[in-house]
Symmetry: C2
DNA sequence: CCAACATATGAATATATGTTCATATGTATA
DNA sequence: TATACATATGAACATATATTCATATGTTGG
């Protein structure tokens, strides 16, 4: 890593670095991260998400759209209601990794 | 996970969720993620970071301050120059995990 | 078809945030 | 001490973004 032989890898990084920041930007909002936190426990419909977070359904819908276009969550329609779930295990991993960092920095918080 | 027995864990999550979004917010800027990308290869001084990114030294300094107060980078002073490096291995992990997600989503980009 | 419901979308507003410019701090060298 | 250099900081401006309100789309049941 870091030697100039690795030109291909460097290309990938440069090309994807902007996308990477965009990805983290999606995680970087308290409403969205709370939505992700809820979905860690399984799928949930818009109504219940909004209810859990004590927020406007519209606001949640807007945020879900952002999460959806970032490929972080996936909708499943059943009649009138739409259930959302985390798209893949990377999302959980990134979430958990961040949480570990926080806990590590704050000192161990476990009780 | 998700059952109401896990009150302690829930407490932790709720308390740390805002901090978590703040953490990702720091990753969620293209300048800062490029700085982190550079520091993946080892420590580097402000001058060279700015040079590498073709940016104002002031802008870099501002962003380094944000990275510093988030605990993502660490300064080492040597005479006039200040060298920055990634603070701990969590930072690299989060970076790599995100990159994997991007590459996974884009389809395999290798070569 | 109509009413009730769940979700989505668009426009508007208020707030947050990144970069620039000017200037300050701190360090080495003449 | 004076000058040059590396980095840091503060204010200002321009842009991005989250939430709200109003409205639209789509679905179920009467």
């Amino acid at each position: 890593m870091g030697n100039d032989n690795c030109v291909i890898k460097k290309e990938i990084d440069i090309r994807n670095l902007y996308d990477l920041s965009e990805l983290f930007k999606v995680f970087g909002d308290s409403t969205r991260i709370r939505i992700i936190g809820l979905l860690m426990d399984g799928e949930m419909c818009v109504y219940h998400i909004a209810d859990n977070l004590n927020m406007n359904h519209s606001a949640i819908s807007h945020q879900l759209r952002i999460l959806r276009s970032a490929g972080l969550v996936r909708p499943r329609k059943d009649g009138k209601t739409v259930y959302y779930s985390l798209d893949d295990e990377h999302v959980e991993m990134i979430f958990k990794m961040g949480l570990e960092h926080i806990i590590h920095k704050n000192g161990v918080v476990e009780n």
